[in-house]
Symmetry: D2
Subunit: 324 residues, 4 copies
């Protein structure tokens, strides 16, 4: 349970999307293809059952099923961290155990949902889960969904006591993240710190992040790998240039109009993944509403402009690797 000194999850750790069949069932064939695409593109780990994976919409049995395919398709080539998203400690620990049994190398979860807790209670929450799950535990800080922020003191207490091994930060608080980086460094780097803000990865790596969890990697993973490699060798101009190219592509998520937060981001990714031939259907988890044709057309236009659409898009077969 203690944080290993060897970083398990650094670099590019994409949140794996969950391809669905038109009837809403999991499209395991597409999922296998997606995982293989990610791994062969050079990503350093896989983040299963996260928000981009629409995990909240699935039952625990479905989640286990999804994770099983990801683990099996990954075939041990990269480590897999899996989200255990549920309301409270006992529920999360039970789910976490199932995920570890299914092959997750680490488990990541949030503060309690629905309840009204103090930082001290959130601290006990993470400790109980860590004690109940036989794998490294990560904290997921995503206030837009959890509606509370994991504080610096809380995270460093959990880190120095070996309760958590890392943080996925989707807090949108770059000032807080910078302070966390500094505190973590001062404490001997017990935490791996991944940012979820994929349009500022160059900046966050300069600021000291250990890696990134980019949803857009489901569409094109090679760009983030190049960005990471540039940062590792200290070529910040190259990192920035790659980030700026990725950001032009990321504009696909701003095309859907009038849809929910869950429909726009993941919806745009799935539309683009389908266009690139990575998955077969852009079906969203129920009750998320689908993109209209105008949004899909605009997404195709952005991809085409960046040469991210295979020639085959309009003729049938498509090979994601060829275009990126």
């Amino acid at each position: 349970m203690s944080a290993s000194s060897t970083p398990l999850f650094t670099g590019v750790v994409p949140p794996v999307a969950t391809p669905l069949l038109p009837d809403g069932g999991v499209d395991h064939a597409s999922l296998e293809r997606l995982v293989d695409y990610l791994v062969t593109s050079g990503v350093h780990g896989l983040f299963a059952l996260g928000s981009t994976g629409e995990t909240a919409y699935f039952t625990d049995d479905q989640r286990v099923e999804i994770l099983r395919t990801i683990v099996s398709a990954g075939a041990g080539r990269v480590p897999v961290i899996a989200g255990a998203i549920d309301l409270t400690s006992a529920r999360i620990a039970a789910l976490g155990r199932r995920l570890v049994e299914t092959g997750a190398d680490a488990v990541v979860t949030t503060a309690p949902l629905y309840t009204l807790n103090s930082p001290g209670e959130v601290d006990r929450h993470f400790r109980a889960i860590a004690a109940g799950v036989d794998a490294p535990l990560w904290a997921y800080d995503v206030p837009v969904r959890v509606h509370s922020k994991l504080g610096l003191g809380l995270l460093m207490d959990l880190a120095t006591d070996g309760v958590i091994a890392g943080v996925k930060d989707s807090s949108g608080d770059d000032v807080g993240f910078r302070r966390l980086v500094a505190a973590n460094q001062a404490a001997g780097h017990p935490l791996q710190l991944l940012t979820g803000h994929e349009v500022v990865v160059d900046a966050m790596l300069l600021a000291g992040a250990d890696g990134v969890v980019p949803g857009f990697a489901n569409v094109e993973a090679t760009g983030y790998v190049r960005l990471w490699d540039a940062a590792v060798r200290g070529d910040w101009a190259a990192a920035r240039a790659e980030q700026e190219r990725l950001n032009r592509a990321f504009e696909i998520v701003f095309q859907p109009q009038g849809l929910s937060g869950d429909a726009t981001g993941v919806g745009a990714f799935k539309a683009a993944m389908k266009a690139r031939g990575i998955i077969d259907h852009a079906t969203m988890a129920f009750p998320t509403q689908p993109l209209d044709e105008i949004a899909v057309e605009r997404i195709h236009g952005i991809l085409a402009e960046l040469d991210l659409l295979p020639d085959a898009t309009r003729t049938g077969a498509a090979s994601p690797g060829s275009a990126s």
Copy 2:
């Protein structure tokens, strides 16, 4: 599934607290005593597995166990509505079916948690749950926990289509509630509308609420029954006088200092219930932090001043009925 013209849940429908043993297990003996206390006090229904019942902290198996005791202790004397609190539609429907099998007469749930949905998606969410559970469905509007508000249009659409049979309103938006009352009246009263704001029940009944879900009834249920009876006979001065007495007692929830939202309210209720002999232990669900002695002393002081402490408090045996 359609809303019955006969109100199933009107009047005083307390959210049943969940007594726990010192080791955190459910104290079924105390729970039976509590249910019996509530029913013999004249309440009109029981709201099982709500926020006051700390339901979010329990596994589904524990929830079923808790509901089973409530149903069995209620013995059909009043109807039971049960909270199915989980993240999303399929999970909630599966849980709802278990609750109905266990004896719930109706099921109540919220908009999705953790996810980012549009009103249209929330509409589909409730429709899917209603289609998947063989009992009347209620909507629970509690933005402080769910972080979104159920809109007037959404609720009335669901009402007129027979999807939901009632709303428990803990939104704190009395203006919105008044508009809902008016729209519901104009539509032929398809919804039963219960308020969760127990310190303004006289006002909300005057405004047209069909009943109340008062957490403090776990401490003293007879007051709310008297308040309701006064309102029914149009004696608003008596209703107000009873409300004001109850509000003096309700000040117990403001005694804990520096604790979380979940620790203070339910913590104060449990401390008072124990003091009155209704339950044996004031244990809170993990990881909620317990009240300190100062808070408990002050709670005792408020109860004593209002003659709500049995003489026996300091000597051992206590009979809740005798003091109220």
Copy 3:
């Protein structure tokens, strides 16, 4: 400065709208007519320069000009309380002095704007203003605009020290308001407590409010006077019936679509006031956007259904008194 034992502002104290000429200048003739309409309708006081009066959009010179007309048209028949809305203490006190010189019987203001203050700092803020203005000071609690809430302890401290004489509550927190009523009662009623939530006035008067500040009174003042009279004599059924009639009329504020908060409420009032002949133009303060014709038509429709449109509406002259 100390709170008088004789209530200065109880009953119906409408927030006086500011009629404007098409070029944006103050329409003093319409403003005089409006004030006369309100006073002859039986209101008990006038709330000048509040949010409904669009005060934030005017310079201090314009505000003084507006207040001068209100005071002059009121002619001492009812007391006038004036809003001194500015960022911080010294600015507010200077403005407050000008308002008192212009004839305001009391001044009302909020916590500081733009700044980030603690409750202790807000306390000092109100004390400094009270010391700098030679008239009773009221606190205006409107979190939707000020983005902080005036707490119970703060208000009661200011009350018992004679710093503030009353509170206008537009907090939307009926639970907090009920606690304030109780604490104020326990302290000997040092504060007059007016609610700004005009669709629940019956309920708030039952709960112990001393009066109401209803924006809709600019459209039809007699209804709120009848509601108040019914509450005073304890006829809560009549109070509720009047409230429900008023609420049907108040639906005009929900007709504008896609406009800002300031455009919808005041815009609907002004459209209705013009339709009833109380003011000559429905011009809004810059940069507030005007209502479209569809909204105006729907507002007319609601007014017509409730017999609130003069026959003369389509032929020219209109007399507000005749229709209500």
Copy 4:
């Protein structure tokens, strides 16, 4: 009024603090010394009357007086941009004209305060101010104070129409800022974009910011100049190292406990400025509460550790230039 192609405000543009005498009056002697310290340290512009300057607490006459000293002490060595913080358009334009007459080279303001406006209304607000003030206008995006965010579309519309010349971004939304940088670049760089988030300046400069408004420069300005110079020459490792040193010093703002937002940040700066001999008194604007001795001691400790305290601190005379 149109955005000049020559950047007026890039690089390090500190928000000038407002030194006060113990009686609350402006300490012009200290203010002159502060301005001279900043300019001789190599900053590229001065941001007068911003949040760090406590501008909201001053009357317009005081603001003019403060600006006059800043302009006179700056003596044309660097340009001065001045905050015109007030509720709404006409008030801001009038104040802006006074600031330009007093010597401001540009004026910066926010969306309206207190009011409830749509983006279209905020657009008209900025256009009216720009038309009414004879100097370049900047937009200040600070949702923590204004409680609304300036959107990308709004800012770029104002930019391409030549209404605004720059944006000071204190939104804490690094994703939004990155999109603004990209859109501004695509439009030919009509806007100068300054970040107010001083602990991530290296990262924001890498991301494309044109400069920074660092409050801590009031304490030590040379570090930010070094950071800027390193970024300009593309030495990101040096920029990061300087940022990290500055961030260790910036920890002074986290020392005050239990104080308001305004008391902690500016209070910590003033305590440090006094300790370094840059100003004579650490007095805060009324009603902001002062730091206690423990906080001041801890601030001294942090400064001493970073060698930012002059030897003379404990003996009397102090020279800010010598220590940095």
